[in-house]
Amino acid sequence: MLEPINVSLESLNLMTLAPMLIPIIGALLIITIDIIKGGLHKTLYVGLSLLFLLMDFGALLDASGVFAQNGTVMGVFDVMMIDGLAILSQFIIVGASMLFIPLALTHKRFHEFSYPEFFALFLFMIAGFQFMVATDNLILVFVGLETSSLALYTLIAMHNRDKSFEAAVKYFTMGALAAGFYSFGAMIFYALTGSVEINQIASVLTANKFEDMGFVLVAVVFMLASFGFKLSLVPFHTWAPDVYEGASAAMAGFMSIVPKIAAFIVVMRLFEFLVNSGVVWLEIVIYAFVVVTMTAANIWALIQTDVKRMLAYSSVSHAGFVMAAVLIGTTQANSALFLYWALFTFTNLGSFSMLWISRQKHLPAYQSSDHSYDKFAGMIQTAPMAAVIMAVFMLSLAGIPPFALFWGKVYMISSAVNADYKVLALIMALNSAIAGYYYLKLIVYMFMREPIVGSNGHVYVANATLSLKTIIGFAAIGTIFALIAVNPLLEFITSFVHASGF
């Protein structure tokens, strides 16, 4: 006979769900409003989304206060785990989303933003990412992963261009494959250890001293493939440039930041214990992934003729660079990952937004694609302010001091140095030099070439509105004055990462 189980509500610790529930409630509210009165303007939905994201951010601040005092909080049958990594990554997720959502207020009208579903799906997606990072449980990770991915595919397709459909279908197919790999890998881990919680898996595997190494190998291979797709590590990156090209520039910028940080968190939780417990071949495999992803993506980026595709390859390369943190696995490396990604958020979202405000609906004859390099020729003469801002973003991506990404790079390379990865540190530095070339190429076009006859500066800001300019202003200030923010950010991140035992 079954005993009735008494679970006190307090032990569930439902407050751990608050940050995820806020965007879900927001999404439901948006749908409800649409049912009651349709045809409302997009500004309403942008405003509402922003409001809920702000509340989400507030809830996170609250959670970070709790964490700073009491340490890691478990909740909802110990499925939710609010530790430092979860809080830091959610800050990045919600922060980047807040920077992204006003980009919907473009000057030109775009199909997707006229649907309230776009904003509802967007908020669902945020909740999905938040679930993904705030748990130790492989099943909840899967739920979060799928919620967010399915929403993301739809958001891409809603851009309503041929290329967007192609991109969404491509992403969907690859994503489905990755999801399959993920569930298979998780299954094997469950079979090996009888648990779907990463810390349980870790303790069981360590206790029996990895005696089923063959099965661990299979599980890890599946997991690596799955997250390789999500993080667009070479050779699983093939979807990335096409999807970035097909999606709207704003969406592409979003995709280069938020889904990746969520995936990085899971990778950190899952792989770092494996690397640190002396699974040598895994260390070698990840080493190879890091080096190949950085280098190959850089070389492909060199030959692109379209700025957006170049930025796509560049963000593949940046992902490889940051993946080094998982390999190194020290507290400093993990802190560097967050520092890098927080700074990368500003810079990369800024540069994609610059593409977004120059979005054309009809291509002139001399342009082969929407953001070809030619389009930016002589921009300094026709739109000097925009050219300077774009150049700052490019210099930051290249790692020129004192702009934002330089600090991330220095800290990351330093963590490699400190963990005695001498060769890796050198490879990372030299890759930054290779990457310098293609960022420079855009600067060369903007500053040193003559403008195409008949182009006035209007094309570069054709899509701009006050809210878009504000976002770019935020990104530019964040990029230029990162110097001031680095120290508080570093101390905050390091204390959180350290307190969660990474």
């Binding site: 020129i400 220095v410 390379i413 530095a429 420079l440 040193m448 120290n487």
Partner: protein
């Protein structure tokens, strides 16, 4: 105000550059000259307030930037950096004043002001990361100057310049991070302060690797053979002002960094690499001198001769004694003045004829006597004629290295004769003989704006050649403390022997006097 004079010197031009955006574009040159003149006056004030008897750092400033990682904003000058800072502000001033008519003049002047910020910053920084920030940032304005106002191959030249230096300095950055890590291991605190690093004594193997990492960054900047290939392109394509700043100041960053970083931090590695580097320096002197002789383009002749003289600076630096290093620092200044002036002079003729081919000229001395006089003076200085500024530096550098190796010094001396040959040959082709080309018949002589730039340079060339003491003494004091530090820090017997112990020498001298 003296407390923050270095910060003012660094950020005043940048701030003024920002304000420059609102100035109407026909008036911007006057604005630029005014700003650069104020900056120059401030740098002279720095010299006035500088205590020449103190060998250590002066006007130190400290501001925490990223204390969690040991990065602080630390500034300071000693005798080595003081005069290069003055030189930088001086050349920016006369560069802007003598700027010939360029398109987008406003962008050019604002860019120059930003460039000035980075130049002063590099020489005043005493924190490795701050140094690195200015070092890298200086590439950006130069990239723009070459790429936007250069000749037909300007984009290739500017990108090559940027990528070459960028790649080298990233290796240097890894070296810096290693250095900070060793410092952390030794002391338990993070620090990128150069003066802290001076105190750290490293095992020889570590020194060797770190020396190589820093060397790659610096050698590309100098540029040393075989990393010099970017420089002829950069000079060949750059506008006059770009070449002047590049030759006079930017190249000095590399040689200055050797003295600031490599020598005091890695004394044993410096001794270990002394002869290989000296050989490279001599190859650089002889080879580029021969290449210069083969050039048809007068600007390329000046460019290669500039590389050749940088070889003498390197040779002096790696003499590792007071004479050699003092001489090389002095030669940095001399080389800045002379090669800057030569590039300005090439610019003068280029503005008139829009060609730099020597075959186009001939007999210019009859048409432009004043021009020929100044050119002749600078050329003699470049060759190293006694009583000109270059002679003092070259003589001391070679004297310093003579103490280490007689043969190599002799070779370097021969190379200087080659230098005289190609320079005089070029002068002969351009200025002597009859005017053969019709286009040269009616060339106007040097105008007021050009005099404004050339006269001060000519005065300095002769003045410091005849009486170098006011500059030489502060340099000498600071160099002595560096050499003494190197001697005390070195661990191998060979290094102890090669790097003189000044205190012991001084004691020996006084005791010898007492014995008399």
């Amino acid at each position: 105000m003296f407390d923050h004079i270095l910060s003012i010197l660094i950020f005043f031009p940048a701030l003024a550059g920002l304000f420059g955006f609102v100035i109407q574009k026909d008036s911007v040159r006057a604005y630029g000259v005014a700003v650069a003149a104020i900056e120059f006056a401030l740098s002279l004030w720095l010299w006035y307030a500088f205590d020449a008897n103190v060998s250590g750092m002066q006007f130190m400033e400290f501001l925490p930037l990223v204390p969690a990682f040991g990065i602080n904003y630390i500034l300071g000058v000693d005798g080595v950096s003081l005069f290069i800072i003055i030189l930088a502000s001086f050349f920016t001033m006369i560069g802007i004043a003598s700027l010939s008519d360029t398109k987008n003049e406003k962008n050019m002047i604002i860019t120059l002001l930003f460039l000035q910020m980075t130049m002063v910053g590099v020489f005043a920084a005493l924190d490795a990361i701050v140094f690195y920030i200015f070092w890298e940032l200086s590439l950006v304005p130069m990239l723009y100057i070459i790429g936007a106002w250069g000749g037909p191959l300007r984009i290739y030249a500017s990108v090559k310049f940027f990528l070459y230096t960028f790649a080298g300095s990233l290796v240097m950055l890894v070296g810096m991070l290693f250095m900070a890590y060793y410092f952390y291991q030794a002391t338990g605190t993070w620090s990128f302060a150069i003066l802290d690093w001076y105190r750290l004594i490293l095992p020889e193997t570590f020194q060797l690797w770190l020396f190589v990492a820093f060397f790659i960054g610096f050698a590309i900047k100098v540029p040393m053979f075989p990393f010099h290939t970017w420089l002829p392109y950069a000079h060949g394509q750059a506008p006059t002002i770009g070449s002047v700043i590049l030759a006079a100041i930017l190249l000095k960053m590399g040689t200055y960094a050797f003295i600031r970083f490599s020598l005091p931090m890695f004394p044993d590695a410096s001794v270990f690499f002394m002869f290989p580097i000296a050989v490279i320096a001599i190859i650089m002197i002889i080879y580029t001198a021969m290449v210069a002789y083969a050039q048809e383009d007068i600007k390329q002749v000046v460019a290669y001769s500039s590389i050749s003289h940088m070889g003498v600076i390197i040779l002096g630096t790696f003499a590792l004694n007071v004479e050699g290093i003092t001489g090389s620092v002095f030669l940095m200044i001399a080389h800045g003045v002379v090669s800057g002036a030569l590039f300005l002079l090439v610019g003068v003729i280029y503005d008139r004829r829009h060609t730099k081919m020597m075959s186009e000229f001939g007999g210019l001395a009859q048409v432009m006597p004043r021009y020929a006089t100044v050119f002749g003076l600078m050329l003699m200085a470049s060759v190293g004629l006694p009583l000109t500024i270059n002679f003092v530096g070259e003589f001391l550098s070679l004297l310093g290295f003579y103490k280490q190796s007689h043969i190599l010094t002799l070779l370097a001396g021969v190379a200087i004769i080659v230098g005289a040959i190609y320079m005089l040959a070029a002068y002969k082709r351009m200025f002597f003989g009859n005017v053969t080309n019709e286009k040269n018949k009616n060339l106007p002589d040097v105008n007021t704006r050009e005099w404004l730039a050339l006269i001060p340079l000519a005065i300095i060339t002769v003045w410091l050649g005849v009486y170098p003491k006011p500059v030489l003494e502060p340099i000498n004091n600071s160099v002595e403390s560096i050499v003494q530090l190197m001697h005390e820090k070195s661990i191998t017997a060979e290094a102890k022997e090669r790097i003189p112990n000044l205190i012991k020498d001084a004691e020996a001298a006084t005791s010898a006097q007492e014995a008399h």
